[in-house]
């Protein structure tokens, strides 16, 4: 954000505690000092209001970044995102563009329970007119965010809440690396089964893959990085090689990008499949508070391992 804001005065940042407090998760640390309170704007607790102001400002030429303190709070701004941001370009027959990024932490943290633990991607990927990104690594987060800010469409940018502590190499300013929206990455090569994932469960999947390697099963991991558009080509290439697939995600199992990916595979790689595709998902319940329950509601390493063994008929 800092790098992009230095390049373009039209970029303004708005949200709760983004300025003087330096960000609830410190993502916006230092921005107020550099850019001032006209560009780094603290808002009241009024998501529908400031999401709408961002959209209105985008319609007339600014390029706002709207931070939701967490994506759980975006539901009160759902009307603005779905009815206005996503549709204005088409409703106006291309007369109005809405270059805006909505970003914030997504998914469960630790024991924040029912109302603060949503993985929201199923809601937003449903909507034509929105792009949806869900990076897992620091490098992808940086490059994808740059792409999102430079895009002329509304982008839903989902930052895994548990991933803020992950450290990793990121390219220097001069490299100006842009990770294109809608391009998946092969995060680990393998021959026996494909794991398709994104966001926080990417790390669960990596750990499971290491354990499975010990058992002689080499998994290929596809990190989707973007969920709308879906890079099905990369997924299909991998599945045509491994002939087996497990989709791992945090959102609830009913519908959503996880189901969409499975639909794409069965349609375009049916003849390559040696086993039914399985999904490891967040369980179909509102998030409980107690640690022992929460741990098991989220997709666990053990469940990923078990699913991969199952598609490999190694149980």
């Amino acid at each position: 954000m800092l790098e992009e804001m230095r390049l373009d005065e039209n970029i303004v940042l708005m949200g709760e505690e983004v300025g003087y407090y330096q960000g609830a998760y410190k993502v916006t640390q230092g921005l107020l000092e550099e850019f001032g309170s006209d560009r780094v704007v603290d808002t009241p607790i009024a998501e529908a209001g400031f999401a709408g102001i961002g959209i209105g400002a985008a319609m007339v030429g600014l390029r706002p970044i709207i931070e939701f303190m967490t994506w759980n709070f975006s539901f009160v701004a759902f009307d603005q995102i779905v009815q206005n941001a996503a549709k204005l370009y088409q409703m106006s027959a291309g007369q109005l563009q809405v270059p805006i990024v909505f970003r914030g932490p997504n998914g469960a943290a630790k024991q924040v329970s029912s109302q603060h633990s949503h993985a929201v991607e199923a809601f937003y990927t449903h909507v034509p007119g929105l792009w949806v990104c869900a990076p897992a690594t620091p490098r992808d987060a940086k490059g994808l965010l740059k792409a999102a800010i430079r895009d002329n469409n509304p982008v839903i940018f989902l930052e895994g809440e548990t991933l803020y502590g992950i450290k990793g190499e990121v390219p220097e300013v001069e490299e100006d690396e842009i990770i294109p929206i809608g391009k998946a990455a092969v995060a680990r090569e393998g021959t026996d089964a494909t794991i398709v994932t994104w966001g926080s469960p990417y790390y669960t999947s990596l750990a499971a893959a290491e354990r499975l390697a010990g058992a002689g099963i080499e998994c290929e991991i596809i990190d989707m990085r973007s969920l709308r558009p879906l890079d099905m080509e990369t997924v299909l290439q991998s599945v045509r090689k491994t002939n087996r697939c497990v989709v791992v995600h945090e959102h609830w199992p009913y519908a959503g990008p996880g189901a969409e990916i499975v639909d794409g595979i069965q349609r375009d790689a049916m003849d390559h499949l040696d086993a039914p595709i399985l999904r490891v998902t967040g369980q179909d319940v509102p998030m409980p508070y107690a640690t022992n329950l929460e741990e098991n509601v989220l997709p666990t390493e053990a469940r990923v391992e078990e699913a991969v063994k199952q598609v490999c008929y190694r149980q």
Binding site: E9, V12, I53, I55, G56, D79, N152
Partner: protein
């Protein structure tokens, strides 16, 4: 006196244009040429026309789904407006929006919104940009009294007040939210009382006189333009037609409607024109011009090519070829 007469004649023509446009739209709807919802503005024309007279071309205007009058007052051509109602390619939103979603930013009209309230925040966003860029422009948002109960209105108004945005919030209180009088939905009947909570100025008046509308809204526009922050205006008005074309209007008596029609803004303006020495012929000549324009608009819409699939498909996502402006330039 002569200048006042000419100005008022121009206002009358603008109001008459909207009235005749909508009467023909209703006819087109009855014939099945226009589908979906059709919400008519008939009876409220003095507000769109009076308000538009206070604005500059690059000011921003937002309206609810009852948007034909405001768009036309801003300068949308009646051809493009009628073609939109007919769902045709040369429509102002190329047949993708319909009656409720006119968009004409080239004429400073930023949309008709079917989901009321949220558009108040959008209008505040345009005002935010105006202030951030020191444009000197004003954002004007229209909404009905029914919209003042929803959260979107409250949050938009509240932020506009907090940030002293150059905005004018115009509540067109047309007495009924669909079929429900305001007294049954709001604990406070004087909407401008809410302005105190948003830290903004307010004004409240009857809307049948286009000259008064222009003067009173003009004051709010000047306040906003000069950095004085937003104003919440409530204009008492009345729609002569149903909420939409499918509304049988059983919630009010025909006597009430007839009584209100005595204060039809067109009639009121006509009387004013006569007292300024305007002849019947002068008015008739003007009306005839409008009749021709509207007949042409209808014919244009009838004959226009249909909306296009490729336009629909290509306008879901904007092309992403944005290049940053040089640093330090707007």
């Amino acid at each position: 006196m002569a200048a006042q007469k000419d100005t008022l004649l121009a206002r009358y023509k603008d109001m008459f244009r909207i009235r005749r446009f909508e009467e023909e739209a209703a006819r087109g709807y009855a014939k099945g040429k226009i589908g979906g919802f059709l919400h008519l503005y008939i009876g409220q024309e003095s507000i769109a026309v009076g308000a538009s007279a206070t604005l500059k071309p690059d000011d921003y205007v937002f309206q609810t789904y009852r948007d034909h009058g405001t768009a036309i007052a801003r300068g949308t051509s009646t051809r493009a407006a009628m073609a939109e109602l007919y769902g045709k390619d040369p429509g102002i939103s190329r047949g993708l929006g319909g009656s409720m979603h006119f968009f004409d930013p080239a004429n400073g009209f930023y949309g008709g919104y079917g989901i009321i309230g949220g558009h108040v925040a959008l209008a505040a966003g345009a005002a935010f940009k105006s202030k951030y860029k020191k444009e000197g422009t004003v954002s004007m948002c229209f909404f009905g009294e029914g919209a003042t109960n929803i959260g979107g209105f409250h949050e938009g108004a509240s932020l506009a007040g907090l940030w002293k945005l150059p905005m004018v919030l115009v509540c067109e209180n047309n007495t009924y939210a669909m079929g429900t009088p305001f007294s049954r939905t709001s604990p406070v009947e004087d909407i401008t009382k809410k302005a105190a909570g948003y830290g903004m100025a307010s004004d409240r008046f009857d809307g049948h006189d286009v000259q008064e509308v222009e003067a009173r809204i003009g004051a709010a526009v000047e306040l906003a333009r000069s950095g004085g922050g937003p104003t919440l205006i409530e204009i008492l008005t009345y729609r002569f037609r149903g909420h939409s074309m499918s509304d049988p209007g059983k919630y009010r008596t025909s006597q009430e409607v007839e009584e209100r029609k005595k204060r039809d803004p067109l009639k009121v303006t006509k009387t004013q024109l006569e007292s300024l020495g305007c002849s019947e012929d002068e008015i008739l000549a003007l009306e005839n011009q409008v009749e021709e324009e509207i007949a042409d608009a209808v014919q244009f819409a009838e004959e226009a090519p249909p909306a296009r699939h490729d336009v629909m498909e290509r306008s879901v996502y904007a092309p992403s070829n944005y290049v940053y402006p040089p640093v330090g330039q707007p």
